[in-house]
């Protein structure tokens, strides 16, 4: 892993279009500012990994797994979409 020392308000640039700036440092917490093209997803790693795990599990759902959904409490009675 590349390790760089940076102070508050200093940045690193990744490629030619991703800039990560140290916005604030307080105790053991660092605030980062990230400028990246919108087509590049930027997420907290643990959140991304939780979604990845959930997607992998959800992708194995079969029609029989969801057949009980019609018994779930609904906010509406008539079948109608948004």
């Amino acid at each position: 892993m590349l390790v760089l020392s940076r102070q508050r308000d200093e940045s690193i640039i990744i490629g030619d279009n991703i800039v990560v700036t140290i916005v604030d440092i307080r105790g053991d917490k660092v605030r980062l500012g990230i400028e990246a093209p919108t087509e590049i997803p930027v997420h907290r790693r643990e959140v991304f990994e939780a979604i990845q795990r959930e997607n992998l599990q959800a992708s194995r759902m079969q029609p029989r797994d969801v057949s009980s959904l019609r018994h779930a409490p609904s906010t509406r009675h008539a079948p109608k979409d948004d």
Binding site: T38, I51, Q57, S59, S68, L69, P79, D82
Partner: protein
Amino acid sequence: MEIQSTRFGTVEIADDDVIRFAEGLPGFQECHAWVLLADGRNATLAWLQSVDHAEVAFAVVSPSRYVAGYRLHVARRELEPLEIKDLHAARVLVILGKSGRSLTLNLKAPLVINLDRRLGRQVIANGDLPVQHEVLGPAARKRIA
């Protein structure tokens, strides 16, 4: 064109039924082309089926049907690749999962789809939301059985 689905067999779709997820979904980065299939038995349910991977499909529902007052809050940058100006122009769906014997909704990472432009993205919603929000617990399922 015809696509293959392990759940639904061979399905005939039109070219413009395809919805493109430019960066795939987390865990399925290689799946860019998807199609929404209606569920024959449950009108509230649809399946987001991968066009290229027959075994990959997600059961999806409209979150507002199961979560009263549901409203998606998401950073604007998340929506920019979808070419939608505001969320009213978009279709928001959430993925069904299960936890033990409970059915759950992934409220943390809903799917936002621009139906006109056929573009989709799984976004990460702002706020402390669960990836497994229980909609039907084991007790309720037992009562039904």
